[in-house]
């Protein structure tokens, strides 16, 4: 007994239900008496009377329903009836709830990302006054430095102030143990630019030394106002606590001013993204005009670095979310498509139930139900399914969001601030409502079942085709990416990243590398050790326009200037193509890209410089390695020895067959002895670090592949449902055809043809649509079309086969 029924019975004890039961019992008894009078045995009479009466339960049900419609037009009662009806078909219920949960849940997860990061203003005061100052030279964007940052603030009247930050991992001494923590180094008054002020304590001026601010959550981990933090070699006093928003989603608890050495960085340096807050009454147009003038004046004052510089003010939100914008919208679009397919499928399922419903509807109208009350019942039923779907969707959404956060964490730290809140939840409920109304409309529609279901299948298949094409496209892109030669062999290599502060002396870096090479190399099982400034594919590089001695026209392209130890190439199995490897002081090697582009493949003995002052002799040519990403060809690079080019973030690469866990403890111990401020980040196989680079595209591919797969399954299920219904409906026709000489093969073909017709219509709709969108490759659309057509044909096989093997006599008897 359902809960509704129990509730109902308790409120209305003399309900129509009990009355109907008693009446039925009385009726049967009376009739049985008559039969006994006619000479039947009592038992036989009772049975016969009961049979005459028909299914008592059914009668009760129908009488009960009538009662619902006419005596109590309450929602609870509709829900009761709808629930009873749904419970009668658990497979339908489970399928539709599952479909909705998936469709709505995935949409919710993605929407919460889109909403928090792309739609909502940044969680900061007056976010509309916050801009990013983008510097361009020769059309290419470049990073800024403290000198230019200060210039922007001084020369652009509309800027209230400018600031920037960069992150650094620094060793924090905590009760005798040392661990690496992320520290946000501020250039300028960063909290003020964001519009934030300390919730406790005071703010700090950009030139203060040895003071730190904590975020509110950082305070929980690192201490309170007045605590002393031992970071690297220095001691910082905590003077203020800031709201967490100051970190913009990064997992950072500590903020300090940038050290003096960094503040005094050369105007050539580029490592900052400048954020600017406009004055309250300033307009963007005025600020842009002033910034353009400022760029020109900077070009005049500092022609060697800023000549030809142009500037663009970009809304901070757009600038900070640009990395994720495209992926997020793409996923949102794909998941919306999937949701539409899901709802279409659900509607098709509901339409397929209409056959059994038609009888019920007839009985209901006969019992006095109005058309509206029947529509209302449909609506309540669809609403009930949607509601259950929404509940389950909440679970899917939470898991989905976790997955997304994992997928994008590397690329976009702020995704961690995304939560599923009331606003997003409203969105889910709205989706549920839309699903409800659509399904109701379809159930209440008066069109023939076949037409309705076919139309739904065509919608499903068309959208499914687009999704599958997108999934194919991204899978191909990914496969291409994987198959590209890397230029090195990552097998049996471990990476140990040793961090030192930017402020550390060059001679200290050299010393750390020398000691590291020696001590790490002495560890058992380690074949060779090398150090490089950045791992391949990690992105980022130091670059400059080189000056080549003896070359007339200047080089206009930026080439990479990299640091390595001589052992690097052998350790990474990067081939030395000509000459020697890195060795003596004041010599460099170049990669084959640079060699071909600027020396016709014959660079040995020539001289090259990064600043036009100090020239290096080219001693050899090495193979090119993809530096930025797998999608970009190797760029021209110059490799300098660590003795000539210092870089404090060291990647130690160890050639060994030992697992990372076996070496990590000894490495950790050795690193603490290398230098007081040296910090071992972690020890991982190189392959694992490279995989991280692929994580986001891989997750993107997996997600789209999953969407595509689900869409295919839905299409198959939808077509199967329609075709099975169709062949059932046409059983009699098939019987006649068989009787007048059609072969089973003909019948089989007939049903299959009908399915293929649906496929053809879908293709005709979807392929031009996909081409029109401009986002999908024609070839992928054709493959997807084939996949969908195959799926449709496959789904029709069983109904077609069943129709073909029906015995004519059986078919003809069917009504």
């Amino acid at each position: 007994m359902s809960i509704f029924r129990r509730l109902y019975a308790s409120i209305f004890p003399d309900s129509v239900r009990t009355r109907a039961e008693e009446e039925a019992a009385f009726h049967v008894d009376m009739k049985a008496d008559d039969y006994i009078a006619q000479g039947m045995s009592p038992r036989e009479a009772q049975l016969r009377a009961r049979r005459d009466f028909g299914n008592v339960a059914m009668m009760q049900e129908e009488t009960g329903n009538r009662d619902l419609f006419l005596s109590l037009e309450g929602f609870a009662n509709d829900a009761r009836v709808a629930w009873r009806r749904l419970r009668r078909s658990p497979v339908f219920l489970a399928t539709s709830v599952f479909l909705l949960a998936f469709g709505i849940g995935v949409n919710t997860a993605i929407f919460s990302v889109v909403d928090h990061l792309l739609l909502r203003p940044l969680p900061l005061p007056n976010p509309d006054r916050l801009y990013v100052v983008e510097e361009y030279v020769e059309g290419k964007i470049r990073n800024s430095n403290p000198a230019r940052l200060a210039d922007w603030a001084a020369r652009v009247e509309s800027f209230e102030r400018t600031a920037s930050t960069y992150g650094e991992t620094i060793g924090l001494d905590d009760n005798g143990s040392r661990r690496g923590v992320q520290v946000m180094r501020m250039v300028g008054d960063w909290p003020a630019v964001l519009g934030l002020s300390p919730v406790e304590g005071r703010s700090i001026s950009p030139t203060e030394d040895n003071v730190a601010l904590l975020t509110r959550s950082g305070a929980a981990r690192f201490g309170k106002i007045g605590s002393k933090l031992r970071l690297g070699e220095e001691i910082f006093e905590v003077v203020g606590i800031l709201p967490d928003e100051v970190a913009l989603g990064e997992e950072v608890g500590i903020l300090t001013p940038a050290p003096r050495s960094v503040m005094n960085a050369s105007r050539r340096a580029g490592f900052l993204t400048v954020a600017a807050r406009l004055r309250p009454n300033a307009t963007l147009a005025a600020a842009t005009a002033q910034a353009e003038a400022a760029a020109q004046s900077m070009g005049k004052d500092h022609p060697e670095t800023d000549r030809g510089m142009t500037v663009k003010l970009v809304d901070a939100q757009a600038a900070w979310t640009s990395d994720i914008r495209k992926s997020a919208w793409m996923l949102q679009g794909a998941s919306m498509l999937l949701l539409i397919i899901t709802i279409a499928n659900l509607a098709a399922l509901l339409a397929a139930r209409t056959k059994d419903r038609e009888r019920e509807t007839r009985i209901r109208s006969f019992l006095g139900a109005t058309k509206w009350s029947i529509v209302r019942l449909h609506m309540v039923e669809a609403g009930l399914v949607s509601l259950l779907g929404c509940f389950a969707a909440a679970g899917v959404a939470v898991l989905g969001l976790k997955y997304l956060q994992n997928a994008f964490a590397n690329q976009f730290a702020a995704i961690s601030i995304v939560t599923i809140d009331a606003r997003v939840f409203t969105f889910v409920l709205a989706l549920g409502l839309v699903a409800t109304l659509l399904c109701t409309a379809i159930m209440a529609s008066r069109r023939s079942l076949g037409m309705r279901a076919s139309a739904l299948v065509v919608i499903e298949a068309s959208l499914g085709l687009l999704l599958v094409a997108a999934a194919f496209g991204i899978a191909k892109e990914f496969a291409d990416r994987q198959s590209r030669p890397l230029g090195f062999a990552p097998q049996n290599l471990l990476v140990a990243r040793v961090d030192m502060p930017w402020s550390v002396d060059n001679s200290d870096i050299e010393q750390v590398i020398d000691r590291g090479l020696e001590q790490f190399g002495a560890l058992p099982g380690v074949m060779s050790v090398a150090v490089v400034d950045r791992l391949p594919l990690g992105g980022g590089t130091q670059s400059a326009k080189p000056v080549i001695r003896g070359r007339q026209e200047p080089v206009t392209e930026e080439v990479g200037f990299r640091m390595a130890t001589p052992t690097y190439f052998a350790t990474m199995t990067i081939p030395i193509l000509a000459g020697n490897g890195l060795g003596e002081k004041d010599t460099v090697v170049v990669n084959d890209v640079l060699s071909r582009r600027y020396f016709d493949g014959n660079p040995i003995g020539r001289y090259i410089s990064n600043d036009g002052k100090k020239f290096f002799r080219i001693a050899g040519v090495v193979g090119g390695v993809r530096t930025e990403s797998k999608n970009k060809e190797a760029m021209p690079e110059v490799w300098l020895s660590y003795r000539d080019w210092a870089w404090p973030k060291l990647e130690f690469i160890l050639s060994t067959s030992q697992p990372a866990s076996a070496l990590a403890p000894s490495l950790r111990r050795l690193v603490t002895q290398l230098h007081a401020s040296a910090l071992l980040d972690d020890v991982t196989p190189l392959q694992q670090r490279l995989d991280k680079v692929d994580l986001e595209p891989r997750r993107g591919r997996d997600m789209l592949a999953l969407f595509g797969f689900v869409a295919l399954c839905l299409v198959i299920a939808g077509v199967y449902g329609v075709m099975a219904g169709e062949s059932l409906r046409r059983t009699r026709e098939m019987g006649i055809r068989l009787a007048i000489g059609a072969t089973p093969t003909n019948i089989f073909g007939l049903i299959l043809k009908q399915a293929l017709k649906l496929a053809a219509i879908s293709l005709v709709i979807a392929i031009p649509l996909g081409l029109y969108s401009g986002q999908l490759e024609p070839r992928m659309l054709i493959y997807a079309g084939l996949a969908i057509a195959t799926a449709i044909a496959f789904a029709a096989l069983w109904p077609a086969w069943r129709a073909a093997r029906i015995a004519p006599a059986t078919a003809l008897r069917t009504e």
């Binding site: 008693e22 009385f26 009376m30 005459d52 028909g54 129908e62 006095g368």
Partner: protein, 111 residues
Amino acid sequence: MAATSKNDGLQGALSLLILKTVAHRALHGYAIASQIQRISDDLLRVEEGSLYPALHRLEQEGLIQSEWGLTETNRKARFYQITSAGQKRLDQELDSYRRIQRGISLVLGEA
């Protein structure tokens, strides 16, 4: 739905029969069914599956009323009786039925 149910021939006919049958005295469901069957010389057989829903609908529309009572054999049964609204409806329906019947007969030339 109200009074627009004339388009439903079956429903209209059954209602008419029931109203007529309970017009003069209260009867229980079984008696209504047997009476229609008996009076029509077994030509009309009211199935239980249609009878009770129809009774309930009529009652809902206020055309008949019902109460528990005892049969001659002292069994508890639900007795149905026409209301004044029902009587009025019966008269209207009979009227229109007769008109239609006459019309049909005229057309068929059997008058």
